[in-house]
């Protein structure tokens, strides 16, 4: 048994669990600052808020920066500090460039002469907050929060607050898609379960064929169908149903249409397998005892199919939360979900700490939904018999 499981366990551990843990660790990892500024981060621990640090702290910064001068590490440090204080990149690179060759008599005066930022206690306060081996900076940023120079957690200014809205939007769209999939998928699965085997096979084919097509192709196809001069609008105008084309794509409508289409098979297949297992004699028994068809449905059929609904809804919801390509193609800028920004911070902005923090909260969101759903439906029901 164990030997049979071994390949998949090893595979999951090394290629799935371990990379996820390592990547999540980046959300709190801050080693680059103490490594780049070893003397400064040690010296600054002594300093108390409110006034400028004493000469030894300035001297430590001068020798740290002198060691980094001319290396790419200086630029990386500058970029990292710039996340915390916009504009600090320039201060650090300029200071590194203009640093005197030997230790000046007063390092404090020398640094302040290069850039007035070094005479700002608030800047030193942020530097000290960022000097630990781990940081809550990325996790706070992912929730639109930051620490003010005194160290207490405050909201970022409204102009830059983006991620809380994004999580809300991701949740709204995913729940909407899940509900639509239930509403559309349930009747289809019920019809399939009642149909003759031959008809059921044809229906199954109809559901599976789009499943074999690439996600990218299906999303792009929706753009072509739904655009202003697309097939749908042209047909509706030709029929006289509308005068001006409807806005069906590059907005929330387009995202719902395309995402429901992509995710519908994940809803129908588990539902179908559960419905197939329900013996028709249960329904006949209820009917023969005098229940109306509506009552049969609500007291017998629906409760028996709930495990299928729960399994399908979980699959659809969890996939929807992480969707990225489809909203990027058929949505407008107001419809992008959190996945879009995780990709942006990973690839373009190269801010992997923030990308990991966003991913960590996404994981929490999925886990929380799963637990809530489990409580509502009952976990034991999620087991397909």
């Amino acid at each position: 048994m164990l030997a049979l499981m071994a390949p998949s366990v090893v595979f999951v551990c090394f290629l799935f669990a371990l990379p996820i843990v390592l990547f999540l660790f980046r959300a709190i990892d801050n080693a680059e600052i103490p490594e780049a500024l070893p003397r400064t981060t040690a010296a600054i621990a002594e300093w108390r808020e409110g006034e400028l640090p004493p000469e030894p702290v300035y001297a430590a910064l001068v020798s740290d920066l002198a060691a980094l001068r001319g290396t790419p590490q200086l630029a990386l440090l500058a970029r990292r500090l710039n996340y915390a204080i916009p504009g600090f990149r320039g201060v650090v690179t300029r200071t590194g460039r203009l640093l005197p060759q030997s230790m000046p008599e007063s390092p404090k005066a020398a640094l302040i002469a290069i850039d007035a930022t070094w005479a700002d206690p608030a800047a030193w306060g942020v530097l000290r907050q960022q000097s630990g081996k781990v940081t809550d900076f990325y996790l706070l940023s992912a929730l639109d929060l930051k620490r003010d120079p005194s160290g207490s957690v405050v909201d970022v200014d409204r102009d830059h607050a983006i991620f809380v809205d994004l999580y809300g939007r991701t949740l709204t769209v995913s729940i909407g898609v899940t509900l639509l999939c239930v509403a559309i998928g349930y009747p289809v699965a019920a019809v399939m379960a009642q149909a003759t085997p031959a008809a059921a096979n044809w229906l199954l084919m109809a559901i599976l064929v789009p499943f074999w097509t690439s996600l990218l192709v299906r999303s792009t196809a929706w753009v072509i169908l739904l655009q202003n001069e697309g097939l749908v609008n042209k047909t509706l105008i030709w029929l006289g149903a509308i005068d001006a084309p409807l806005a069906l794509v590059f907005n929330r409508t387009g995202v719902y249409i395309a995402m429901v289409h992509v995710l519908l098979p994940y809803m129908i297949l588990p539902l179908y397998s559960v419905m197939k297992g329900i013996s028709p004699s249960h329904l006949r028994a209820a009917a023969s005892l005098g229940a109306s068809p509506v009552r049969v449905f609500f007291t017998v059929y629906l409760p028996l199919t709930m495990p299928g609904v729960a399994a399908g809804a979980t699959l659809v919801f969890v996939s929807a939360v992480g969707f990225y390509v489809t909203p990027a193609l058929v949505g407008g800028p107001r419809d992008q979900m959190i996945g879009y920004f995780i990709a942006y911070f990973t690839n373009s902005a190269v801010n992997w700490g923030l990308a990991s923090a966003l991913g960590a909260f996404l994981l929490v969101l999925v886990a929380a939904t799963y637990l809530v759903l489990g409580k509502l439906v009952g976990f034991e029901r999620l087991k397909v018999r």
Partner: protein, 352 residues
């Protein structure tokens, strides 16, 4: 018995060596699409014929992360990288690109107008971002003439297409707010400059369809989804050529010039060949061939006399003073310092 195979192996190794010599390759990465196809025909193919060095082309979307991961894993795939001005500066500082003294290899004078060589990269192309409309839908007398017209939805009703990205859009907003294009870097970096640009963008925001790819920008105009829009000249040329359309660029309104650089990947063993390819690409006659296909302004001023009359007419020759250069220490440092914060603010601004 022992000798013959040994001789055979030695010969085989020698031949393989020779074959490897003849099959030298350089891998270049750019943003793909019509500009990359033009570069292949006008630059890489003749280069390979003349030098015997094969050129492999890959595409990326200006993600510096992909350079960094190749360098950190010591698994270099690319040798030559096409870069926008901000990435040229950032990649150079962060040690992703080789520092190269281009001045000692190429005459710098014809490149002065675009700001000369970078510490790492050499400029080869200008990509103007312009105001464009469909002349088949809007007659010349009713056409917009300035960014002020573009912002005037009462006089020119309809949607507007703008790029979903703050760099280029803040600059356009400032031009619409009355800043002369050459003064845009100063106005943007001045205290309150960013707020001013955002205020101007807020005026037109309810009427904007934001686009994210060059294809989308032209699609919006050609299908009439937007009345007029911001677009890149290369895409306008390609759309006109491929679809026989009559899209018109409003040069006098003012435009944004993105300078495109070529740089050498840090630590590549093919550095000499990479430099050879870039030098070839910068030459006036190479860039003339390229401009004949793509119709984009070359960074090398010596190219202009070599162009045909019709191509020169396509270029913003007489409106050079209406172009804003995305370059210079002040401008580049401003974006490196504030880019992350501004991009975040922009995403929030658009979503509200």
């Amino acid at each position: 018995m022992f000798r013959k195979p040994a001789v055979g192996i030695a010969l085989a190794v020698a031949f393989m060596g020779a074959a490897a010599q003849a099959q030298q390759t350089v891998t270049i990465v750019n943003q793909g699409g019509a500009p990359a196809e033009a570069q292949r025909v006008a630059v890489f193919e003749p280069f390979s014929r003349e030098t015997g060095i094969r050129v492999v082309v890959d595409t990326y979307n200006q993600e510096l992360a992909r350079l960094r991961s190749q360098i950190e894993t010591k698994n270099l795939i690319w040798d030559v990288v096409s870069l926008n001005p901000i990435n040229e500066a950032a990649g150079c500082e962060e040690g992703l690109l080789e520092k190269i003294d281009w001045k000692s290899m190429v005459d710098p004078r014809p490149f002065a107008a675009v700001g000369g060589f970078g510490e790492c990269g050499a400029p080869y192309l200008i990509s103007p971002g312009v105001m464009v409309y469909d002349a088949d839908r809007i007659s010349a007398d009713r056409a917009p003439k300035s960014w002020t017209d573009f912002w005037d939805v009462a006089k020119f009703p309809g949607k507007r297409g703008l790029l979903y990205q703050p760099d280029q859009m803040l600059e356009v907003a400032l031009i619409a707010d009355g800043v002369l294009p050459p003064d845009v870097p100063k106005a943007l970096t001045a205290p309150g400059g960013v707020d001013r640009a955002f205020r101007k963008l807020a005026e037109i925001k309810p009427h904007v369809r934001w686009w994210r790819s060059g294809d989308e920008s032209m699609q919006l105009i050609m299908t009439g989804e937007v009345e007029m829009g911001y677009g890149w000249q290369g895409r306008v040329n390609a759309a006109n050529a491929a679809n026989k359309r009559n899209l018109k660029i409003v040069w006098p309104a003012g435009y944004v010039n993105a300078i495109i650089y070529l740089g050498v990947m840090k630590g590549t063993p093919r550095k000499a060949d990479a430099i050879k390819l870039i030098q070839y690409n910068l030459a006036a006659n190479t860039l003339a061939r390229y401009a004949e296909i793509m119709g984009l302004p070359p960074a090398n001023a010596d190219t202009y006399p070599l162009l045909s009359e019709s191509k020169r007419a396509d270029l913003p020759g007489q409106y050079l003073d209406r172009g804003m250069m995305q370059g210079g220490q002040l401008y580049i440092n401003f974006w490196l310092d504030n880019g992350d914060a501004i991009r975040q603010r922009f995403a929030t601004f658009v979503a509200q």
